[in-house]
Amino acid sequence: MPELSLPLVLAGAILVSLNAYALLGGADFGGGVWDLLASGPRRERQRALVAEAIGPIWEANHVWLILAVVLLFTCFPAAFARLSVALHIPLTLGLIGIVLRGSAFVFRAYDVQRDDVQRRWGRIFASASLVTPILLGVSVGAVATGRVPRAPEGDFVDAFVRPWLQPFPIAVGLLALALFAFLAAVYLTVEADEPALREDFRARALGAGLAAFAAAALALLLAYEGAPLVWGKLIASPWALRFHLATAAAAVAALGALWRRRWRVARVAAAVQVSLVLWGWGLAQYPYLVPPHLTLHEAAAPAATLRLVVLALAAGAVVLFPSLYYLFHVFKGRPV
């Protein structure tokens, strides 16, 4: 196990933020995917359930991404700068997706309740929800490839397109999409208040779960060529086998619980599964923040900054967690 140091603690904090963003914000994107794919006799009720589920919480969930970005540029400025340059294009497109998703969702809620108007905003909201996770996943995948250069080299394509337009990052993008859709469908089986709707999302969750399995297998396969450093760690590390077993156990538990209609068990297992995938990526990259050149310690800001940020995180947590608990208690607690 690596020695506990300030950069490691803060990298951990960033990963915790990304984890929360994946479980919460990711599921909001997944909800948009199910809005897009709503079908059958209960199409409108599916859409209404999605809107009801994400309405009160999506903005709070979105802040986890901001927190991760802010922590990255405060604590690891060199990594932030390097990634912003090499991944300019997917990040910009992802941003546009984030903007369209959020604003179209709110505009739909407050515009006239006429079908054509609602459909127009709904389509923007839903398609942006589909595209954005892929772009975010591509960006993460590109980091893992170890092909982000120190500084732009070669022509435009070499410097700004090749680092991310590769099979492996695209597989990671698809994996992110499938996992987010899976999470959303699993959560919605808990939140639906009528059996038929619950069954709709059960079927969707099972489908998305299988898609996630396929995407994960594809990503692992492509990692051999596409992200050799991460691949090596995921295969050869002393923790690798236990880790894969745990992830597989969570995945099987989630699908099994869905099959047996144990909705709340499925929700926990799905969240564990997605978290393990994310932490697996983090561990496999250690000690690199941007492989193969930039380690956590090389990229770290001065200790004075890191110490203060740790204090700020501790103080912020005191405010944040009770508030978050209250939010989710009000809107996601068991009905009285």
């Binding site: 903007v99 959020g102 407050y110 900054t305 944040l320 508030s323």
Partner: protein, 446 residues
Amino acid sequence: MSDLLAARSQMAVSLAFHIVFAAIGIAMPLLMVVAERRYHRTGDRAYLELAKRWAKGTAIMFAVGAVSGTILSFELGLLWPGFMEFAGPIIGMPFSLEGFAFFVEAIFLGVHLYGWNRVPPRMHLVAGVMVALGGVLSGIFVVIANAWMNTPAGFELVNGRAVNVDPLAAMANPAAFTQTLHMTLAAYAATGLGVAGIHAFLLLRDPLNAFHRRALAVALLVGAPAAALQPISGDLAGKMVARRQPAKLAAMEGQFRTERGAPLRVGGWPDVERRETRFAIEVPRMLSVLAFGDPDAVVTGLEDVPRSDWPPVPPVHLSFQVMVALGTYLALVSLWAGWLALRRRDLAAHRGLLRALALGTPMGFVAIECGWMVTEIGRQPWVVHGVIRTADAVTPMPGLVVPFLLFTLLYLGLAAAVVWLLRRQILESPREPEPGAAPVGVPQGA
């Protein structure tokens, strides 16, 4: 268009867009909370109606503010990686704190918007207060970071690298207090008087409407004191610029020559070629008095600043003149309203005041845009005053005109959608809400 100019334009458009929503996101929750509190105290349903409508408006503005703010947090790196690599460790701290303030805002806005029938009335009001607090704090933290770009502190520069970094000293930079005060008051003044202006306009057409009368009262309560105090904070901010950024002050005032007992130039056009400001009304010695509190103080002119360190003079001077003119108008109208209120006159029936308020509706926001241009363009050619030039911080990515155009289109689309939605909200104002009006429902589609 060069890549540097495209990057600057994209940043400018992003900030110009975001600042409007940020200001409304700071002040609107306070209006909404005051209305709700008055409903609790009086049981007057018109206040409840008002609180619900303002909450809807806040929801739209906050969402657009949140997503446009997200663009900015990424753009810091996408456009200015050199700046962030240098400044991140020094000034990332307020951004981290802003993250938590933003969390508080977003969490309690969710509770407020969707919780009308789910949480007890008192908790609902508390949630509104938390949104208002989170909004103010977010704004303050972000402006602290901007103030640092004007008056950098908390590090030493050795061979182009920052050493002895002290993030707390960076947060306590000299301009932090004056800038945060000025921007916070600006948010309350612009939003409060903007809302007051809309309802004043509607009252001119529908003088007895109880809904608009109450809206006017609450909006003035928030906007007028802020607008009346703003000249004082402006004076403090100006004195700070005079001490720390003489080139910016010279550009604001069109001061080309270094001068003892410098005059205040009202209006006019700075002719950079001839190095003089033409057609201005000059108030003798007034600039020396305002900037340094001494009629004989020496004001540094641009002639004593290396030409390569000049900000673009005409836009800075012009923006400053417009900001001061609009701010003065709003301060005077606010004082007028306060005086009438002290004499227990019915403000909502005073057609002269209503006309003056209606005329001032957009002025606060125009003043905010101008003030932002003064401070940002006035800081050029530096991104961190005296430390890093903007040109040295820009990304090596070519073809930046493409994202610039893309984001400009996106903002135009968003602006059109917001105007369309708000127009509908305002035109649907209830005519006679007092007796037994049906309460508006919780946000639909939710």
